[in-house]
Amino acid sequence: MLNKDNKTDVIVVGGGPAGITCAMLLAKSGKEVVLIERGLFAGSKNVFGGAIYTQPTKEIFPDFEKEAPLERRNIEHNFMILGEDDSTTISYRKDDNVSYSVVRGKFDRWMAQKAKEAGVILVEQTVVRELIKNGTKVAGVRTELEDYYADVVVLADGVNSLLAKQIGLRKEIEPKDVALSVKEVIKLDKDTINQRFNLQDGEGAIGEIFGGPMLEILGLGFMYTNTDCVTIGLGITLDDLIECKYRPFEFLERLKQHPKIAPLIEGGTLKEYSAHLIPEGGYKKIPQLCDNGVIVVGDAAMLVNNLHWEGTNLAMISGKLCAETIIEAFNKKNFSRKMLSLYEKKLKDSFVMKDLKTYKDLMDIAHQRKKAFMGYYLRKINSFFEMFTSVNSVPKKEGYHKFIKSIFTDRKLSELFKDVWALIKLVWSILV
């Protein structure tokens, strides 16, 4: 245990995937690590969709498929485009073991147990209130009960990261840079889920939901299957939520009543309601990632790829790169910002920063053209299929002509040009 001055090698604040990964890898390399989590247990304050991804999780926990509490292995991805009362779904199915649905209250707790087995000192039910500085160097943390000191403090305290804010590593978060998410876990028996989603035992399906109650606003819905529950939720950028003056759970109620969704959850009982923020600022809003004696990882560093619902993997890999950096810093007995900036370099060379950079313009363009891309065109996709599937004794050619004409009559030419231009800009920024 800690010596009488409460001094240890490394303190990690936050027992999510980023913090646990970092703490565990440091302990494995022989460092004394204290991991501080504010919840009753690791995972008890955490909410996600969600799926954890097999390859990156294996990189940190090689045997997790045998040991961890997993719900279902996802074999199908459904992209659901909802109009007001109609819908079009594109479904991709392949059992290629990309991801598993999990419950954070169980999965994070399991990860934390693995970290403990590796020698991490896990302190739960303890909030870090502030960072202690010694001159320009972060020297420790102040909790409700005690002060702890360390050579390096890792901030893995999630999207709100009050601590990174406290020491000026980042500015106040703006409403457009986070999405507020609400979700419900709905209990249904296993066989009903298998039947409704066309699954075998142990297989799962993912739903990504566009439109519906979120037409014309920057919001996405999601659905996941657990063993005997279905998760449904949505995330809406906070600035849009402020603008539309609508309560987040009212959106969710409307989504649950949509004719595409309602039959999937019919007869289920609500097991738990929850809410959480998602970082959406992307590449342009990444804070200063390190300073003397301190490194920021995971959501606290805005490392989320929201288009792909990837966060836990970026959290784990950033935690890993942070641990590698700290091991190097101990070898050199140097905890300066310059030394720790090795972490920034490692992130830049990894998929984490490369992916965030790829999508650096996505949210700006999405904000500017949301009425088009999250409204008009989603409706248009549905009205195309409405036309295509209708049998009404109108000649097909007329139907096509009417559909094409409608594009130019219900939308100003100048808007169409702007849409195309935005799309070109976006594709260019992603591919080039």
């Binding site: 955490n46 039910q125 738990e272």
Partner: protein, 91 residues
């Protein structure tokens, strides 16, 4: 389904003191009162008679949205004590 029924599914260990403390003077001149509708737990309600916020802090889901959405940026927002607040079992 109404919000009370949703919140009823959660395990809470409420503190006696609020961890959410807006500056009540600033609230008096606030135009949007964003906090009263963006909150996923309906924690904030405006009391017209007393011209002040009612804060049902025991229902808070600790998401942090009100802190960011507050028109005046005036909410002194802390995490509840380590043993207090909400516990998610199905997150």
């Amino acid at each position: 389904m109404n919000l009370d029924k949703k919140l009823y599914t959660l395990k809470y260990s409420p503190d006696t003191q609020s961890h959410l403390n807006p500056d009540s003077e600033q609230c008096k001149t606030c135009v949007s009162r964003n906090c009263t509708y963006i909150c996923p737990a309906g924690v904030y309600e405006w009391n017209e008679e007393k011209n002040e916020l009612i804060i049902n802090f025991e229902n808070c889901l600790e998401c942090g949205a009100c802190r960011i959405a507050c028109e005046k940026g005036c909410i002194d927002w802390q995490y509840p004590k380590g043993t207090k607040g909400v516990t998610f079992k199905q997150g």
